[in-house]
């Protein structure tokens, strides 16, 4: 009972310290606020968006910025602001799901490689090396081209292309921790490998994995936008910021807003994710600076 309380207060102290460092810099607070607003827009898009993002009205095609249509309309007369608000859904869902896929699969593979060692380790890590030798965006494009277009496939393609980073990190952590005295002590006491993995290795790997995940969110969003821009990502008419930039590209000379505004949002979300990722690293484990 007593020990449990102590542990809880220890965790609470750690959490307080984490948030104190995280919120110490004003620009990080601003980034978190922007991200929260975007999350809000993504969840409540039907209530936030002034128009239906799919409703075409060719009489209203390519309207300039006005009070009715803050960012104007696209070539099919769809309200750009509404489409941008719905676009946050795609960006966040791809970012979060892709990172979750990469993180979970990568962790399991890295853990298996690190704990099992030997032949299993070589096989897993050589495959990871091979995947890493293909630039991430190329791998995502390649996988995307095979899986086909669509939200789920983009999540999968981007997610898979980020797996090797997690596997490598997890394996490295597992190898270091495996050599430490408390694991040896556990083995002497008769703890099974699985028990050692669950009680010692996994908890010790959590902070670098969380840091890598936060930092990768921006990359995942950027990859989705890039794929959709190339016409290999989200299927129209679904609103994706990358796809909107690509659509607007045709009207760059007459109506540059259509191409430029969605890009600003991609930039903003990636910048915020990157800055928060850096801050989370510094708050959680400053030793990771330089390696992550």
């Amino acid at each position: 009972m007593n020990a449990g309380n102590k542990r809880n207060s220890g965790n609470a102290k750690k959490a307080r310290r984490f948030f104190r460092i995280l919120f110490a810099r004003k620009e990080i607070v601003l980034c978190i606020a922007i991200l929260l607003i975007m999350v809000f827009c993504a969840i409540f898009a039907p209530f936030v968006a002034p128009y239906n993002p799919y409703k075409q009205d060719l009489t209203m095609s390519l309207q300039p910025m006005s009070a009715q249509h803050i960012f104007g309309t696209d070539q099919l007369g769809r309200d750009l602001l509404s489409r941008i608000i719905y676009g946050t859904r795609v960006s966040f869902s791809v970012g979060i799901v892709a990172v979750a896929i990469a993180g979970s699969v990568g962790m399991i593979l890295g853990l298996t490689a690190g704990v099992a060692g030997g032949f299993v380790d070589s096989i897993i890590m050589r495959v990871m090396d091979a995947m890493m030798s293909i630039p991430m965006i190329i791998l995502a494009i390649f996988l995307g081209s095979i899986l086909g277009k669509g939200l789920g496939n983009v999540m999968l393609a981007v997610g898979i292309s980020m797996i090797p980073g997690y596997a490598r990190l997890m394996r490295g952590q597992a190898l270091t921790i495996r050599e430490s005295d408390y694991i040896t002590a556990g083995i002497i006491c008769g703890a099974s490998t699985l028990r050692n993995v669950i009680t010692h290795i996994v908890p010790n790997c959590v902070s670098p994995i969380i840091v890598l995940m936060t930092m990768n969110l921006g990359n995942a969003v950027l990859a989705e936008a890039g794929l959709s821009f190339l016409g290999l990502g989200i299927n129209p008419p679904m609103a994706s910021w990358g796809g909107m930039v690509s659509d607007g590209n045709t009207f760059l000379n007459t109506n540059p807003v259509i191409a430029i505004v969605p890009g600003i949002f991609v930039f903003l979300i990636v910048l915020c994710f990157n800055m928060v990722g850096d801050a989370v690293r510094d708050a959680l484990d400053p030793r990771l600076r330089g390696t992550l």
Partner: protein, 319 residues
Amino acid sequence: MKSKFVKMILKRVIQSVIILLLVTLMVFLVMQTIPGDPIQIFLGPTATKEQIEHYTKLFGYDQPVLVQYGRWILGLFRGEMGRSVTLQKEISEVIFQRLGATLMVVLPSFILAVIFGVTFGVAAALNRGKLIDSVVSFVANTGMAMPLFWLGILCIYFFALKLHILPVQGFVPPTKDLAECIRHLIIPVGILSLGPLASFTRQTRSAMLEVIRQDYVRTAQAKGLSRWDIILKHQLRNALIPIVTVMGGALGHMIGSTVVIESIFVIPGLGNLMITAIKSKDFMVVQNVVLILAAAVCFCNLTVDLLYGIIDPRIRDSK
């Protein structure tokens, strides 16, 4: 001279070959899962059964999977990559033609990024906490978050459509008209260099800050060496290892990013080839382009390992 370093390099060369073989296997296996027959797509819906059979046989698609893989690998060792169904050309020939344009975008960008990234990083580290440091850090953060395709369109809008000082897109071979070639490359090269420039700046800054307070720097100052001698020979030289590591990774990243750049600026490079091949379902081309890009990345990583030895004699001479 048979030091550990030479052995390490040899080991890495063998590893790279194994990795590339694995890449071929993975790419080939993944390709087998694709629905749709490239021959059918190429010939169109009006093709007769005989035509499809004829072409399937001609391109070897009727053979067992393992035989197809074996033929591809053996061909690669002879420098043959097979024939493209849609382009009706040898793939190795097409890739070789397209490689030039890609290199003409990637290499100048890389050189620019190295020169400016290292300079900015050193400047920021030497003036830590001052205005120049904050400006450089801010620019570096922005540069890393900038979506390339958007920046490309922004530059086209301002420099080509509004100011009319640079062409919108396209590519002119340098043998035809060097000045025009350079004019067409200014925006793509500038944009591609921005991301790596930002990451080199960040890395140089933090690596410089690590070494700036080392004892040997103080010793050098005490000896009365000039400020620039200390910066270049004592600080930067010791900070180079992490910087070079980042550079190797960044070059691989740039090779990936050219896909987007080439597609915006209609540059006939490898990335453009890959995208058109994907859209026309010419997967033989796709798999070979992916392999070539992976080989380029492996080559970059090997070069980084070699550079470690050149930069740091302790690594080179370790017995």
